[in-house]
C-alpha cells in the first residue's frame, strides 16, 4: 500500500530534468497504473528520456508511484490537500505542475483502482435468444418457448494480469424459471432503492 516515504520528495525533484511537461504527465500516468512489480522495467524505459542514472530513475518512478497512489487512496480531490503534501522547500513550479496533473487524472485513476480491486469474477457481457421447441425424439409436436442465455464472465482481473480469462455460461430458462429469476431480481431492486434512500 502506498505510503509516502521521506526520500520520495527528494526523488521527485529529479523531474526537473524532464524534457517537457507532457513527459512529466505521461510518466505520472504510467507510474500510477504500474503495479509495484513492474516499476523496475518502467524505470529502465524512462531512464534515457530523463538523462539520469538508473538508480535515480528507479527512485523517481517509485516516488511518483507512491505519491499518485497515496492521493487516490486518501481520496484527495481539493488542490489545497494535494499541495499540502509537499514539503516547504519543494520546487514551487514543479509542485504546481504535479498538483495540476494529479487533479486532472484523479477521477479516472480512482475508477481504475476500483476496477482492478479484488472481486469475484465479473459479468462482462450477456446475450440471449428465445426459441420455440417444436419437436423432439419423445414428442412429435409441441410449441414450447424457451430462453437461451449466455453470460460472459471474466475471472478476477488481478489474478489474470494482462490476459483476462473469460468463460461463457450458457443456460436454458423456461417461463417458470425466468419468473423465479425476475422475482429475485425485483427483490434486489427493492433493496437497492432502500439503500439509496438512506
Amino acid at each position: 500500500m502506498a505510503a509516502l516515504r521521506d526520500g520520495d520528495f527528494a526523488a521527485l525533484q529529479i523531474l526537473l530534468k524532464a524534457p517537457s511537461k507532457d513527459a512529466v504527465r505521461q510518466l505520472c500516468q504510467e507510474c500510477f497504473s504500474s503495479p509495484p512489480a513492474a516499476l523496475g522495467p518502467l524505470a529502465q524505459r524512462a531512464c534515457p528520456g530523463l538523462a539520469v542514472s538508473a538508480e535515480e530513475a528507479e527512485q523517481l518512478v517509485s516516488a511518483l508511484h507512491n505519491l499518485t497512489r497515496h492521493v487516490v487512496y486518501r481520496g484527495l480531490t481539493a488542490p489545497e490537500d494535494i499541495l499540502r503534501l509537499f514539503p516547504e522547500n519543494f520546487h514551487q513550479n514543479l509542485k504546481n505542475l504535479l498538483t495540476k496533473i494529479i487533479l486532472e487524472n484523479v477521477s479516472s485513476w480512482r475508477n481504475e483502482a476500483q476496477a482492478s480491486q479484488i472481486s469475484l469474477p465479473r459479468l462482462v457481457d450477456m446475450d440471449w435468444r428465445v426459441d420455440i421447441k417444436t419437436s423432439s425424439d419423445s414428442i412429435v409436436r409441441m410449441a414450447v418457448p424457451t430462453c437461451l442465455l449466455q453470460l460472459k464472465i471474466q475471472e478476477d482481473a488481478a489474478l489474470c494480469g494482462n490476459n483476462p480469462v473469460v468463460s461463457a455460461l450458457t443456460v436454458e430458462l423456461s417461463k417458470e424459471t425466468l419468473d423465479t429469476m425476475l422475482e429475485g431480481l425485483g427483490r434486489i431492486r427493492d433493496q437497492l432503492s432502500a439503500v439509496a434512500n438512506k
Binding site: Y73, L120, L123, L169, L173, I188, L192
Partner: protein, 217 residues
C-alpha cells in the same frame, strides 16, 4: 432367443462402460475401482439422486456437496472422479430404463463378467432399481431435451465495498449473484459473479425483455 441376445449385448455394453476405456480416471483406474472407494451409504445416496434426477423429481445431482461430505468422512476421492462415477451410473440407469430391464436382468448383467464391482454396490443398485427404476418413463415434459445447462436457482447479495488497499473510502455498491445450474449430465454447479449497479439495471432490463418475448411468442 431374442431375450438372451438383447441381454448379452447389454452385458457387453456394461463391461465396456465399467472398464477403463469408457471413463478414464486420473490414476488410470476404471469406474469400478472408484466405486469401491465410496462407502455404501454415500453410494446409495448418489444412486438415489441419479434416479430422482432421471425421474425429474430433482433438478440435478449435487456432486460437489456429496463429494465434500465423502471427503470429510476420510475418503480420498476428488470431485472430477465422483462426477465421472455419477455419469457412468446415470448412463447405466438410463440405458436400463430404455430397455425396460427388470431388476434381475440388470443385476445379472452387472454381476457376471464384471466381478470388479463390489458386492455392496451391486446390492445398492439392485435396491434402488427395484424401488424406483421402473418409474423412469419416457417423459412428456418438453424441457427434458437438455443440450445446455438448465437454470436451477439464483442467490444474491447486495454489498457495498467500504475500503480497499487502493482506496481508503470507496463506498462502491455492487451485486453478487450465484447461479445454480444443472449441466447436461445433471450435475449441479454454482457460478458466482459480480455486477456494478448500472450493469445490474441492464441485467434486469434484459430479463424483463426476455419475459415479455416469451409471453408473446
Amino acid at each position: 432367443a431374442f431375450f438372451r441376445e438383447r441381454l448379452d449385448l447389454l452385458l457387453l455394453h456394461f463391461i465396456y462402460v465399467f472398464a477403463s476405456d469408457r471413463c478414464c480416471f486420473s490414476d488410470g483406474g476404471g469406474a469400478a475401482d472408484k466405486i469401491r472407494l465410496i462407502p455404501q451409504d454415500f453410494f446409495a445416496e448418489l444412486c438415489e439422486q441419479i434416479i430422482q434426477h432421471l425421474n425429474h423429481k430433482i433438478p440435478g445431482i449435487n456432486t460437489a456437496e456429496l463429494c465434500q461430505r465423502i471427503q470429510t468422512s476420510g475418503v480420498d476421492i476428488n470431485i472430477g472422479d465422483l462426477a465421472k462415477v455419477a455419469n457412468t451410473l446415470s448412463f447405466l440407469f438410463s440405458t436400463a430404463a430404455r430397455n425396460n430391464l427388470s431388476t434381475e436382468e440388470l443385476v445379472t448383467s452387472l454381476g457376471s463378467g464384471v466381478s470388479t464391482l463390489p458386492k455392496h454396490a451391486v446390492q445398492v443398485i439392485r435396491h434402488v432399481w427395484n424401488e424406483q427404476g421402473k418409474a423412469i418413463a419416457v417423459s412428456e415434459d418438453a424441457t427434458t431435451t437438455a443440450t445446455v445447462g438448465q437454470f436451477v436457482d439464483m442467490k444474491w447479495k447486495l454489498g457495498v465495498a467500504m475500503s480497499s488497499d487502493t482506496c481508503r473510502s470507496l463506498k462502491y455498491p455492487y451485486v453478487t449473484v450465484t447461479l445454480t445450474v444443472a449441466d447436461p449430465s445433471g450435475q449441479i454447479t454454482d457460478k458466482s459473479f459480480e455486477m456494478t449497479i448500472p450493469q445490474f439495471k441492464n441485467f434486469v432490463r434484459q430479463f424483463k425483455e426476455m419475459a415479455s418475448v416469451l409471453e408473446t411468442v
